[in-house]
Structure formats: structure tokens, C-alpha cells
């Protein structure tokens, strides 16, 4: 990884100086029963991890719709971590295995879109594994940092159905056209 990529300021970050890399932002999907509890436990035990890790609580990792992951990348996440119960420990019996199947599929799709596999990872944590989960958060940030910002924010919104959630001011016509061209070149690379 060359030095200029490492230290490149985030394009949307007007105030960051050229020498200050933006810390990667990682969005974490947690299940209500195991990994969210583990995160609570990490908190109660005051185990430290990088502040750019942000959690979204779902009832089960099986609830993760691929569009959630795409939405996260499109909204500016540099990495997405899927967490849930260990296989066979699922509160809903086997639903985390269904999440695992989607994970593998989605990872390949993302790879074809040019998103490095390090940006989309998964981790199992039981409700007792707070320290392990916190360590996984730190590892994820370390994995994503050398890749630099993903910068998918400049791409057209991937979920146009949810108009209420988009911020139209971020996209003007020019950048949309530019982003579309980017996307097409990405597709060309992917195929």
C-alpha cells in the first residue's frame, strides 16, 4: 500500500489536512442475543476498542438483508462486520447459518464490485465473549485501515425506494454522472 493512499484525506472531508488519514468507519450488525450482549459485556468490563466501530442491533444475524450491507457501504462505511451467535447456539436454532450462507454469497458479489474482502467480514461471539468481540472490532479496523476509504458515498444511492433516508444534497447531477461512470468501470473490472 503506497503512502499517498494511506494518507489521502477523505474526499468528502473538506477540513481534514492532507497529512491526516481519516480513520475507517466500520458498521457492525449484531444479533440481540449473543453478539449485542457480548458488546454490552465489553462495555460493562470497560474493554477498549476503536471509536469508529458502530453497532446496529437486529434480532438475529439472519435478519441481515444484503441491501443493509450495500446501504452501509453506500452511506460511507469503510467496512461492515456481521456478528452473531456461534453456529448451533442460535437463539432461533439455525437462523445464523442462513446468515452465513448469505454472507458467503454477498462477499463474492461485493468482490466482483471491487470491494476488498477485508471490508466485509463476519465474527461469532457468544454473550460471554465480550473481550473476544472487542478484539475483533480492533482487528477489523486494522484490516480496513490500509485499504483507505471506500468512498462509495459518491455512488448513486443503492436504495432509491427509501427516499426519506437519502440526503439529496449530497448528490448533484455531475457527481451522479461521474459515479455512474465509476460504477460501470467497476462492473467492467468485475466481469
Amino acid at each position: 500500500m503506497s503512502e499517498d493512499v494511506m494518507t489521502r484525506p477523505h474526499p468528502t472531508d473538506a477540513t481534514a489536512s492532507a497529512t491526516t488519514p481519516r480513520e475507517p468507519v466500520v458498521l457492525v450488525f449484531t444479533c440481540n442475543w449473543c453478539s449485542y450482549r457480548a458488546a454490552d459485556l465489553a462495555g460493562t468490563a470497560r474493554i477498549k476498542y476503536p471509536p469508529n466501530v458502530r453497532l446496529v442491533r437486529l434480532m438475529c444475524s439472519g435478519r441481515i438483508d444484503p441491501s443493509f450491507v450495500l446501504k452501509a457501504f453506500a452511506s460511507g462505511a469503510d467496512g461492515v462486520l456481521m456478528t452473531g451467535c456461534w453456529p448451533a447456539d442460535c437463539h432461533y436454532r439455525v437462523q445464523n447459518v442462513k446468515a452465513l450462507r448469505r454472507f458467503e454469497l454477498l462477499r463474492r458479489v461485493l468482490e466482483q464490485l471491487g470491494i476488498e474482502p477485508e471490508r466485509f467480514q463476519r465474527f461469532y461471539a457468544s454473550a460471554a465473549e465480550g473481550p473476544q468481540l472487542a478484539a475483533a472490532f480492533s482487528r477489523m479496523i486494522e484490516d480496513v485501515r490500509p485499504l483507505g476509504p471506500l468512498d462509495w458515498g459518491r455512488l448513486p444511492d443503492l436504495a432509491p425506494d427509501h427516499e426519506a433516508l437519502t440526503n439529496p444534497s449530497e448528490l448533484d447531477a455531475d457527481s451522479a454522472a461521474e459515479a455512474e461512470a465509476d460504477l460501470m468501470s467497476l462492473e467492467a473490472v468485475g466481469s
Partner: protein, 691 residues
């Protein structure tokens, strides 16, 4: 303005909690408050406040007043984990007339102030999470809790003292209980003990009346020699399958006279109740006070099952109760609540090879010693060496075997110090032997525990502080005289600062407590979680110590972790109290998190049909659409994510809510906000990055 109006005109109130200094020490709460008003105003925030303790009654009143006076229709509280205070703030909303599900809790304590140290970065993260909460709650719709009826019957798994207590409490209140026990008799480990510390009550004297009461209680159905094989359903309405292993006798005819046991020619070592130092027959009752009184036949050791002849028990049974062709029988029970009181297993002392258990004859485990000192045990209460006759002149008791040891279990087994001192007292009571206790620390925090420690010291027991390195029969020092069967305990006396080699006749290893070997499997069967060691994880370690994460499943006794008899009894009674409260309410309100199919949008593709492990999804062939049974749906959301038509909606966790939260969380990340704030005092210096 009505409080429950739809999301298109959200009026959101934001409340930022200081939690004393728990949050305010790391997060600039005033800045978060002002930021929310300024930046989230366009997203519907109309009021933003901070308060030292939002969960206090004054904090809650703040929310209630704003709902009434400012016409809020959404509330976001940035405070602790939703598992802590979601109910509190939902209650506040409900009191002010707002649907309680229009309240969102954002965790800025467990996820921010307690896990981060950089104040600027922590404040920025709190803002981001708050934005996620605001955008999520905008999409929330009013919900009504689901009410499920509670079946009055309760299943108690495990017939030790914790399970017996739970069963008796519920049965005495007038409700039916099914008590399932894997062994032939209820009583658990306590039935094996001679005395109980520190009062030295006779264990059997205090336990057997409880066992008899449980066995004859009109509201208690015993399922001994049985195991739970399957659990289905949910709180209030579990369907449980229990496998009755064959006892090879008809319990309606058996009078428990014991003739079969007396006449059975097959005598085998009893590894369970007698801990391997006593014998039983192939048809046996583990101990005289067993409840129920019926024996069981062990086909692995029965001569008839081995060679096809014998049938002595069958021929001699005065009531003709023996049934050598009996088959296992599965019964199905309907229960509303479950108590898991599955207890512990003693640590296998063979694993610590240096202590020589299984190799050196006169090294005993604590359970063997319990049986030996028990007046109804194999030695009739005589403390003797493995030869069965010789009284020891010196006895070493080794603490923390398999506990407080990184090689085995890191935790303290809680009962071993007191158990070891009880042993010292019993050795002194039965023999004239010199007794050594080898300990790391003496942990005697209970009622009258330390007084007992004093008493044992006054009785002349020698306490040596140090973890035993080795128990050996090999002589190393010139002054060590060879004597048959003598053992040498090698220990560093950490108070005197020297190595000691102490010759003894008998070593008792005070083994720690471990979860049952099948603890993980049992946890899966009941849909609960346990720690990596195998102890059941409680809903909250302090405030909800007998509930589990699964509604309707409680735990008691050593299934939760090592504990002594009073603590086991207390947890059994506590679980019973929790269940009785629910039974008397007759129904329970559950989170309305369910999948709902919009028949208009369902194409009938049936992709979701096979995804539900609760059989909640059915296909209506006539209408060619799929339907969800809300009573069976558990709300995992797998079908919602799978539906290619987007026809399945998830209440409480809808796509719009989740996408809104993602949008909100990331809205200001990477933008000028975070970049400017984290520019200089960032904890991660650029040079720390590997090139």
C-alpha cells in the same frame, strides 16, 4: 396534535443521559444535546435535553411533560443499553399517552463512554449513534404487545436441592410441576454428603424430608431415570418430550421391598452415587432413602441381559413387578415455564497427573471422602486407606484441585475451602490423625464460615499456604524413610518461604466444580446460552440472576455456577417466585417483533417457506400466497431478508427502520464533522499504520 400520528410529521424529543459521570465523564453531553438540536432539527427533533440520571423519576417526568406539552410523537433516549432501561422509558412514554414502542434507546454508555477514552471521538460517536436512533424511530409505528397465555404447569429439570426447592415452592402454591431427574432418585449431590458446612448438619437428615415431600406431593409428578429429549414452543406454551428410560419393572406393582436387590447376584462398583468406592447390584436403589423407592435395573451389568439366564429378580419378586422386556417410553408434557437446575460435575482429578489420583492408591477425591465419612457409605463412616482397614495417621487435604488454575479452570469453585475444612474436622472426629490443609487463600465469606475456620485451626489442623506441586511415592531426600504406601506432598510453604516435603498416609483432593459434560448440548436444547465453560448465562448477573435470555426458561443452583447449598436453595426458590408471579398473571406481554406478509405483494414463490424453524410459515395453496402464523413466529427476520418481493414486513425491525438507522449512523461520519474533530488528538497516530 395526537401523540400516535404517522411518521410523516415526526416530532422527536432527544434526551441525553449523563449517568452521573459514567457517560458524562467521557462524552460531552451538552455538546451532544446542542448538536442534536442543530443538526437533527431537519430530521424532526423539536427538543433536546440532557439530565444527570434520565432513569430517575424526575428524568422520566421530563419526558412525560414534553410529550404532553410539546406534542412529541417520538422519543429517543441516549443512555445505557436497551437491555437495561428500554422498559423504563417505554413506561414513561406510555404514562404520557404515547405508544411505548415509539421510544428508542441509544446506547452511549456500553457502546461509547465505557469502551472509549478519547473524549472528542467518543462525543462524535455518541452523536452518530444518536442520529441513527432518530432516523430509526422516525420509521417506527405504534405497536401493541402480544399477549400469550401462561400454562400453569412448570417443568423442573434436575432433582438436586435447587430443583427440589423450586418444585416444592411452585407445588405448595397450588400449581402442577414435572420434576425430571436423570438418575434413579432425586436428591442430587447433597444426598451423597455426610455433613454440611459450617453447621455440620447431617445432609441426609435435612434433605430426605424434602425428597419425601417432593415425592409424595399431589402437585409434583416425578420423572426419574428420565431425560428431556426435545423442547418446542415458547414461554407460556412449551411442549417438552421426556424419555423415561426403562427401569425394567412395573412401578404400579413394585413395593420397594428390596428383595430383588438383595437376591441379585451381579455386584458392580457404583461409580455414580458411591463415587467408585462402593458396590451396588445390577438391580439397585442408589441409597436407602431414595425417592422414588423403586429400583432400576442396569442392563449393562445384568447377567440376564449379558447371557440370557438368571432372572433371579423376576422369580423372587413377591409382587411380580419385574418387566425384563420393558422399553423406553416417551411422554409429552405441556408446560408454561421451565427451571433448569442441572447442577455440576466434580472435576476429574486424573487430569492433574502430578497429584497421582488413579495411580497412587491413597489419593482420594472429595466425593470419595464424602462417601467414606458418611455413616451409610461403603465404610460405614470409617476413614480408612484404600485397603479398607488401616486408619491414616496423617492426612493431607489439597485445595483448589482444578480450580484457580489456568491449566484447568480459572474460576474459584467457591465451596472447596469450606468443604476441605469440613473434611479436616471429620478426620479429627473419626481418627487421631494429623491433618494438613494446603491452600492458596482461605475463602470463608459466608455466615459463620470464618468462625468454622477458627474452630478447625483450634482443633489442631495444620494450615500450609502454598499450591501443592506434586504428590509422590518416590523418595528423594536422604532423611526420607521408605514405608509402604507412604506418600510425600511437595509444596512451597509461601509463608515460611521454603520448600517442604511432608510425608502423609492419605491425600484428599478437594476437587472443583465443573458444569455437566453435556451443558452446551442442554443449553441448545432449551434455547439458552452458557459461558465457554458451560455455566448458564443469567439475564443480568446482578439484577436478574435466575432468569435466562430466553423467556420462560429460568435456572437455579450450580447450573449457574459453583455455589453452596444455601445459595442453591435460594436460587431455586427465586426461580419459583418468578414463575409463580407469571402463572398468577395468567398471561404475559411479549415484544411484538413479528413478521407480517402483505398478501398483495406476495408472489407465492415460496422461497421463505423452508426458512422458518418454528413452522410459522405456511402456504395457502388456494390463494397462492404464503402466510405467517403470528403465534408461532419468533421474530428472527430471516424470511423478511429472504423475500425477493419485499412482501414481508418486520414489526419493530422494519427495513425502513434499519436502513434509517444505518443512514443516520453514517450520515456525519467522514464528513467535515468527524474529520475536523478527530484531526489532532486522534488516538491512532498515522505512523502506527503498518506500511
Amino acid at each position: 396534535m395526537t401523540p400516535n400520528e404517522p411518521a410523516d410529521s415526526p416530532r422527536v424529543g432527544v434526551y441525553v443521559c449523563h449517568c452521573g459521570t459514567n457517560i458524562a465523564g467521557t462524552v460531552d453531553v451538552a455538546a451532544v444535546r446542542d448538536w442534536a438540536m442543530e443538526r437533527l432539527g431537519p430530521h424532526g427533533v423539536v427538543v433536546s435535553r440532557d439530565y444527570p440520571f434520565m432513569c430517575s423519576s424526575l428524568g422520566q417526568e421530563l419526558i412525560e411533560d414534553d410529550i404532553r406539552e410539546l406534542g412529541l410523537n417520538r422519543v429517543v433516549v441516549a443512555a445505557c443499553s436497551p437491555h437495561m432501561h428500554e422498559k423504563t422509558f417505554r413506561g414513561a412514554c406510555e404514562r404520557a399517552g404515547l405508544n411505548p414502542y415509539l421510544c428508542e434507546l441509544v446506547s452511549i454508555r456500553e457502546q461509547v463512554s465505557w469502551v472509549h477514552t478519547d473524549k472528542v471521538a467518543a462525543t462524535a460517536k455518541a452523536e452518530a449513534l444518536l442520529a441513527g436512533g432518530v432516523l430509526r424511530v422516525r420509521e417506527q409505528v405504534p405497536l401493541e404487545p402480544m399477549r400469550v397465555p401462561i400454562n400453569e404447569a412448570t417443568l423442573v429439570v434436575g432433582g438436586g436441592i435447587a430443583g427440589i426447592t423450586a418444585a416444592l415452592e411452585i407445588a405448595d402454591a397450588g400449581f402442577p410441576v414435572h420434576l425430571v431427574e436423570r438418575e434413579p432418585s432425586i436428591g442430587g449431590h447433597m444426598a451423597q454428603f455426610d455433613k454440611t458446612f459450617p453447621t455440620l448438619d447431617c445432609a441426609a437428615c435435612i434433605l430426605t424430608p424434602k425428597m419425601v415431600t417432593a415425592g409424595s406431593h399431589p402437585n409434583i409428578t416425578l420423572h426419574t431415570w428420565s431425560e428431556v429429549t426435545d423442547v418446542a414452543g415458547y414461554v407460556g406454551n412449551f411442549t417438552v418430550k421426556v424419555l423415561h428410560r426403562p427401569r425394567y419393572l412395573d412401578t404400579d406393582l413394585c413395593t420397594g421391598c428390596g428383595i430383588c436387590q438383595e437376591k441379585c447376584p451381579a455386584k458392580v462398583v457404583d461409580p455414580v452415587f458411591e463415587a467408585g468406592i462402593g458396590y451396588r447390584k445390577a438391580i439397585y436403589r442408589p441409597f436407602p432413602q431414595a425417592v422414588p423407592k423403586f429400583p432400576v435395573l442396569d442392563p449393562d451389568n445384568c447377567i440376564y441381559f449379558e447371557r440370557g439366564t438368571c432372572r433371579a429378580c423376576e422369580k423372587l419378586c413377591p409382587t411380580g413387578a419385574i418387566r425384563l422386556d420393558q422399553q423406553p417410553e416417551e411422554v409429552t408434557l405441556q408446560v408454561g415455564n421451565i427451571v433448569l437446575a442441572t447442577g455440576f460435575e466434580a472435576f476429574d482429578a486424573r487430569r492433574v497427573e502430578a497429584y497421582g489420583y488413579g495411580r497412587l492408591a491413597n489419593v482420594f477425591t472429595s466425593l470419595e471422602f464424602e462417601r467414606m465419612s458418611n455413616a451409610s457409605g461403603p465404610t460405614g463412616g470409617q476413614i480408612v486407606l484404600r485397603d479398607g482397614v488401616t486408619e491414616p495417621k496423617t492426612v493431607a487435604i489439597v485445595h483448589c484441585v482444578g480450580s484457580r488454575d489456568r491449566n484447568y479452570n480459572k474460576y474459584c469453585s467457591a465451596i472447596c475451602c469450606m468443604q476441605s475444612m469440613k473434611f479436616a474436622h471429620l478426620v479429627r472426629e473419626h481418627t487421631d490423625a494429623t491433618v494438613y490443609e494446603f491452600y492458596i487463600d482461605i475463602r470463608a465469606p459466608g455466615k459463620a464460615f470464618d468462625e468454622f475456620y477458627q474452630r478447625v485451626q483450634d482443633e489442631g489442623t495444620i494450615f500450609i499456604r502454598g499450591r501443592v506441586a506434586e504428590v509422590t511415592d518416590v523418595l528423594r531426600m536422604p532423611d526420607e524413610a521408605a514405608e509402604d504406601g507412604r506418600l510425600i506432598v511437595q509444596v512451597e510453604d509461601t509463608l515460611a518461604g521454603l520448600q517442604r516435603r511432608i510425608p502423609v498416609d492419605m491425600v484428599v483432593l478437594s476437587v472443583g466444580l465443573e458444569p455437566q459434560a453435556d451443558a452446551h448440548e442442554v443449553a441448545r436444547r432449551f434455547g439458552i446460552t452458557c459461558s465457554s465453560e458451560g455455566w448458564v448465562i443469567e439475564r443480568h448477573p446482578k439484577l436478574d440472576p435466575v432468569a435466562t435470555m430466553t423467556e420462560g426458561v429460568f435456572a437455579a443452583g450450580c447450573a449457574l455456577g459453583p455455589r453452596d447449598i444455601p445459595a442453591s436453595v435460594a436460587s431455586g426458590a427465586a426461580a419459583a417466585a418468578r414463575i409463580l408471579g407469571r402463572i398468577q398473571q395468567r398471561e404475559l406481554a411479549l415484544e411484538p417483533i413479528r413478521a407480517v406478509i402483505d398478501a398483495e405483494r406476495c408472489s407465492g414463490c415460496r422461497i421463505c417457506n423452508d426458512l422458518c424453524p418454528f413452522s410459522a410459515i405456511t402456504f395457502d395453496a388456494v390463494q397462492a400466497v404464503t402466510e405467517v402464523n403470528p403465534a408461532l413466529c419468533q421474530g428472527c427476520g430471516v424470511c423478511i431478508a429472504a423475500c425477493p418481493a419485499g412482501a414481508i414486513a418486520g414489526t419493530g425491525f422494519s427495513d425502513a427502520q434499519i436502513l434509517g438507522q444505518i443512514e443516520g449512523i453514517l450520515m456525519f461520519s467522514g464528513a467535515a464533522d468527524v474529520g475536523a474533530r478527530t484531526a489532532s488528538p486522534e488516538p491512532k497516530a498515522p505512523e502506527a499504520v503498518p506500511a
